[in-house]
Symmetry: D2
Subunit: 307 residues, 4 copies
């Protein structure tokens, strides 16, 4: 048979685990979606149908639940590191594990405000509402030697209602776009950033604080950049993160240009002074780039995934 097996991996995707931690009456919640992908000495599984080297995907799911109890969930990065290390070190045929995790944010329902006529002195401490903003992401890969941690986010939608221009571009036979000197700039941020932490001998970053800071720097750079193109804004966002967070060496963005077109109100005898816009769905510009710390290696793939 003249065909050969190339790169392969398998595991259980999208195991949904919710962990409640109790501190007296005060509860804490972690809500994750965990996907496991294992590689190694798995040719026989594909070629002969022997499953002797195959840890079932059902077992990888069970392991996620058991580790939520045994190891706890402090951050998606810490939890991913525990899982990746486990699969590679406990099963001889498994040489590499890649753990992807989505985290959904929750905040407390505040019931103690002065306006509430219904409650007593005590605040409720076990009630939560989904924040619904961006989804936090991480991917941890372990090959038995070192770790790679690439964290990120998706679905963080932002808009500047001014301070954005676009002009001076190439005009060819098919160009009809008019230059813009004051436009809306809006995008839904998908980003991934790679940590320079690679293993046990180094102190781990404070994953949760790092995440909050990276998000804050992204938002600030988006807000504070006077933009001549979404590409330029992207580079500012990436540079701000790299310059502000020493634990991050590389960041990649995929930024759809969520077009807001000024509606022509002249047929109705009205002037549209940058007030009324049509928010379009498709098509959209798509701007993607990597920003690196000088000297760092580019390792984040060109195509960012949905998980």
């Amino acid at each position: 048979m003249p065909t050969i097996l190339g790169q392969n991996q398998y595991g259980k995707a999208e195991t949904r685990v919710v962990k409640i931690t109790r501190d007296g009456d005060t509860h804490h919640i972690k809500d994750l979606n965990v996907s496991v992908a294992l590689s190694g000495d798995l040719s026989d599984v594909h070629l002969t149908g022997s499953n002797a080297h195959c840890l079932p995907t059902d077992t990888t799911k069970n392991t996620v639940y058991a580790f939520a109890k045994e190891k706890g969930i402090d951050s998606p990065e810490q939890f991913g590191i525990e899982l990746a290390r486990h699969f590679v070190t406990s099963q001889e045929p498994i040489h590499r594990a890649r753990i992807r995790i989505e985290e959904y944010g929750w905040e407390r329902i505040e019931t103690s405000d002065a306006n509430s006529r219904f409650i007593g002195a005590d605040e409720v401490k076990h009630s939560f509402v989904r924040t619904g903003q961006e989804t936090r992401l991480t991917q941890v890969t372990f090959d038995g030697e070192g770790f790679e941690v690439v964290s990120g986010l998706k679905d963080l939608t932002v808009m500047n209602s001014t301070n954005s221009e676009f002009w001076g571009y190439i005009k060819d036979r098919y160009t009809t776009l008019k230059e813009a000197y004051d436009r809306i700039l809006a995008t839904s941020v998908t980003g991934r950033w790679r940590f320079n932490w690679t293993g046990e001998e180094q102190r781990q970053p404070q994953w949760n604080r790092s995440y909050e800071q990276v998000k804050k720097h992204m938002l600030h750079a988006f807000a504070e950049t006077y933009s001549l193109s979404l590409q330029q804004t992207l580079f500012q966002m990436g540079s701000r993160v790299i310059n502000s967070r020493s634990e991050v060496d590389e960041i990649r963005f995929s930024l759809p240009n969520k077009h807001h077109f000024l509606v022509d109100l002249e047929p109705f005898g009205l002037k549209n002074d940058n007030e009324v816009y049509f928010a379009a769905d498709r098509p959209y510009g798509l701007i993607e780039a990597t920003v690196l710390r000088d000297g760092a290696e580019a390792r984040i793939p060109v195509d960012l995934t949905n998980l």
Copy 2:
């Protein structure tokens, strides 16, 4: 031909309008998705192909954009009232207009925090991030005589990590469910509430404040109810709104019971003390009910729509 035309309506659905209002350097944003449905003397359009009574859906779209400029957008309710009144009063064949509006929330990107090393004294006032939590909804109907305003929300996901039980139910031949004395209660709230305001001679409610208060009461009632069933929690949520907001006479909820199943960790020698849960997708319990002010008429349909 032995067939006859029944209820019919038409219009442009999902017109996406973003309105920027400038107060010096401080910008304000309203982001709506507007759907128009018109009814009236439209038999010929269906039966003979004469469009003499048909205001094009494209025109209803244009009207949305023109009104964003002419009337402004203070709240989805006010904007829907303007549109509904216009279509019925300006076109003789149009006897009834139903305007549905989704509003997406935005909040300012705060750039003036003490930690930011990058910015000067001035705060950026034209940068926004989508809150991403629930979507606010309204439906305004006008028939030339009176208005009906039904507002609502969807995709508000909440969870209580304790204070929920479910037991004492019917057991038949097909019942295998075990009684629960401490379970997670989680749902994604879809709600609609009808205002008793019906027209011009009455003072309009403060639509935006009303919305914030209804949402707050819902969340508080969810958090503060010790639940014996999702039905009981639903009734508490509805009663709290009716009792707290005199402008609302009727409220209906559609509450999926987002099951969180306790994972059996015993095979792994671990005890799961209400800590580790599997968040399931389908199937889900679906609990729906209306709560009314005593004496009020039930007018919200049984099936709540997605728009």
Copy 3:
């Protein structure tokens, strides 16, 4: 407490059941998504937290699986009738049951074609591929006295590339649409039709044949109507079904006008002779109407649901 409980219902939604029937080596497959909603003497569940009248939603799920074995699945209508009758007749507090079912279509993977070099004389009879076209729907309601069966479909996308015009409409201050004498007409059909069968004493329609015929008549009427508006096409589709199928008394459609805009190629020195179109997403016209057999009562709600 000045609030009262209005219409309420509950049950397990979206129970996914796949049934395999074996006829020797030839397998048959039925793939359903079943949603149960029960009503009755359920005030105490909401008001006092007593669940004594509450059949758990988990039990309704179990019943779906048990009935797939006990009663078999010949059609979604037959299966829904079995379930609705069961809940109302077996539980005293349950006075009304509404069963909604989606059916996903599968067809055999044909392996016996002459071009296949790989297989022997025998055809494989247990392999299937999802057709992926429309989703078949039904809703069966039983109140202890009579049945109501409303079947339907969704996501059947159709297009005529000519024989569609739209002109002669109202022009008001906000009208900019140009009249069209040869346009694309495309829609994604959502339809529901009500059977005049109401109970045991009548012979049941041949549900599967009826479905195929209703779909065929809809498609033929869409294809064969020279259209002056989507409203007119809708009425022709509805009339064709009513006139052709005596078991159906009422039909309602919700038809998005999936706009295909002719692209202006003149800036590029090209003529667009109804050849190149932009397929738009939002906004879209939405045309909804009921067609009735003369004398029949209109019972299908104005808003068609997604399930």
Copy 4:
């Protein structure tokens, strides 16, 4: 500034183009979703805000529409090759173009069947219905020297109701899965295959025939393989394609194991003889692998994208 720009690309994503071709009264339709990504000498766009090297994404959209007229659409591969060549050869700063295309299938509405009482002798030749099955995909990359064409499909859902086993796997501390000797095997096929055609001097494959044949071989291999794991089935599917189609050198699959769990009917006194299954959503096994012609280079990325 210690940050540098890494890989970057931009263009208009998801331009929806529908092309009608008329052959007398017989119309033909092509329905594509085209995404353009350009790379090259674009540092200044990111770093200085100069757009002198930037061909606007709006222009790439216009070019798609103009080429639909000028070059026609015979297959997504041919259309992608035209576009990729154009951008790289017409604009000096653009060194590389990647064109991704989705094609949606349509078939004629047949109106001439003997059962139709409504039509005359002539068949309608301008009416279509979406097939709704898989989406056909291609990606064409051109760097000025050679082409790479990777075609594929997604959302092709298949099921074997028998001839699938899974046993003999690793059992560790977290393994609870029971071995299966007769299970349902179902997946939704996402596949990509790379052609060995790289440029003008070679004759192009017959793209449309190649697609139909690759799909057929995949389906046949899925149906005809007695499966000991989804990995083994995947390898058979890939090998069948490579062995049958000399124009394809490499193929990669991403196959979710769409679990169908046998429902335990014993509590109801019923025996489930592989008849009644629960179709689960999440989590799911995810099996991914590449199959190569011996000697071919692996070039398809590990993560297959959605577009």
